[in-house]
Symmetry: C2
């Protein structure tokens, strides 16, 4: 069997099974000139379309990773299964050890397998995914503030993102009084040392131990203390969420600003989110501004990058021609 034959046996993933991640992840610049990555070597090639490539222009390690992904998502390789060794995979695929290693790294990044020190690599159970539509979520949460408590009790923002019901979720809340450090003082537009209420929220699926999201919320303590119920973590999850809590102290939000970033997890976060240290986290710093222009809450939200996507839709105005 030639290498070409082997490649032709790799099945393209079906749309239903393909991982929700950008194609570029699977496309590390095949045209990149060999050797040297300074800008000088990357000058525009010029001319018209520089080449014709068929469907298999992606690197081989990725084709192997996708073949294995299909086997995992189809159940052919069930959760808990020990993955074949690098040697076995190299033998059966005809690829180099380096390509095989890259394919396994890719599966770890997708959260499909877990490497256990000295024991091998195992197939993971599929995990709850979260697809957050924050713009819609914030307005939806605001609209619910004025509903009856009975209505507000029924569902919350995480259910909105995951399709889970409130009974499917576990919720952890922990409140602390802290003093603003320089970062939070700047973000909340208060003096360093100002007392803040720090609220930690972890939300997870009832079927999983690791949280789906971790949120660290900060509000000026004196603002919140106007309603002592808001200082009591045992009142969480609060029907109607943060915007209803603010409503009880006379605050209406005008807008929410977000700064989105990517970074590796800290060792503590990797343990808590139960992710491979090679999985990134998405972070959102969420700043809530009320109708008087005051910053009333700053929250840092941390989400595991192997099963979270943030979705935005930008409607454009029509040309007036």
């Amino acid at each position: 069997m030639t290498a070409t034959d082997r490649r032709s046996t790799l099945r393209a993933p079906t749309a239903a099974h393909r991982p929700r991640r950008p194609a570029v992840a699977v496309d590390p610049v095949p045209e990149r000139p060999a050797g040297g990555t300074t800008w000088q070597s990357l000058e525009r090639l010029g001319g018209t379309v520089t080449g014709v490539h068929g469907r298999d222009w992606r690197p081989r390690y990725l084709q192997l990773a996708e073949e294995l992904r299909v086997k995992i998502t189809s159940g052919e390789l069930a959760p808990g299964t020990l993955m074949p060794s690098e040697t076995e995979l190299a033998d059966t695929s005809g690829l180099s050890r380096t390509s095989v290693r890259n394919a396994i790294r890719q599966l770890r990044e997708w959260g499909l397998v877990r490497a256990e020190q000295g024991r091998g690599t195992y197939v993971r159970a599929p995990r709850q995914r979260v697809r957050r539509r924050n713009a819609e979520r914030y307005q939806w949460e605001k609209d619910r503030v004025l509903l009856d408590e009975e209505e507000r009790l029924k569902t919350g923002a995480t259910e909105h993102d995951t399709g889970l019901t409130v009974d499917d979720l576990k919720f952890h809340a922990e409140f602390t009084r802290v003093e603003a450090d320089a970062d939070m003082a700047a973000a909340l537009q208060v003096e360093p040392g100002t007392p803040l209420l720090r609220r930690v929220y972890w939300t997870s699926s009832r079927h999983e131990n690791a949280p789906l999201t971790m949120s660290y919320s900060y509000l000026p303590y004196d603002l919140v203390a106007a309603n002592p119920d808001l200082l009591d973590a045992s009142n969480e999850p609060w029907p109607g969420g943060s915007q209803h809590q603010l409503y009880t102290i006379g605050v209406e939000l005008d807008r929410i600003d977000e700064e989105v970033r990517a970074r590796p997890p800290s060792p503590d976060e990797a343990e808590l989110l139960d992710i491979d240290p090679g999985v990134s986290v998405l972070t959102v710093r969420k700043t809530s501004i009320d109708t008087t222009g005051r910053v009333v809450e700053v929250a840092d939200v941390v989400m595991p990058g192997d099963r979270t996507e943030l979705v935005y839709s930008h409607k454009l105005q029509r040309w007036k021609i």
Copy 2:
């Protein structure tokens, strides 16, 4: 000098110098119960505010990292300087080797230092940051389509994000004809195998080698071929950008959808972006839909996580009370 004395000499960063990243990065859940991270050990503590913490509730490694960051951003530790060894830092800070190692890892994630195999850790030159306001950027780009070419030539979307002028930027474009794989076929709503124009764009600051953003754009080949100028990479950067290109073939965009994710860089991406493999990348899959509801372009944008943030602002409707 006691450990407490030493900690008190750590200066809080000034707002101007603080890295643009969420406080949660600097706050890995100090309240987390020691040992065991199953959900059972994380049940709500209940009761009112559970404790009072002063300003130094962040872990020590982070305080050391911030002290070093201030020294780097102030120039006290200039670019090219060899960082003190772990032993020296442990001696001068009074912290454990583990804490010192975590502090250095933090500086690497911030893109402030670079570890060179067998040679030590060096201070990096500060790098161009990008703060992308995509919602505004897309409408701004659309509004410019109908301007004169002279106006369109003046500036582009990257200048919009960085504050750099067009003369400060280097631009690399490379076009290829490919066949749609299953992923791109689903994204573009075409049959697998449909010919696509694949456009690779790398944009960098003239003062740096590594790109600020890498974009991989895909359009149905037959759609683009209606204007042969669009098949010629030497016409890039095109005055007015993608939306003007689409205008020349009679396409007006109605909306742009985005999916934002975080992941580790591939080895090729880490090399090309000149980032430590421990720095994450932010990715945006950008889907452009025209006024007839057709998907006309799908682009995967990859940005280095140590110097990029995506900024969104969500205006909320007022309560009608």
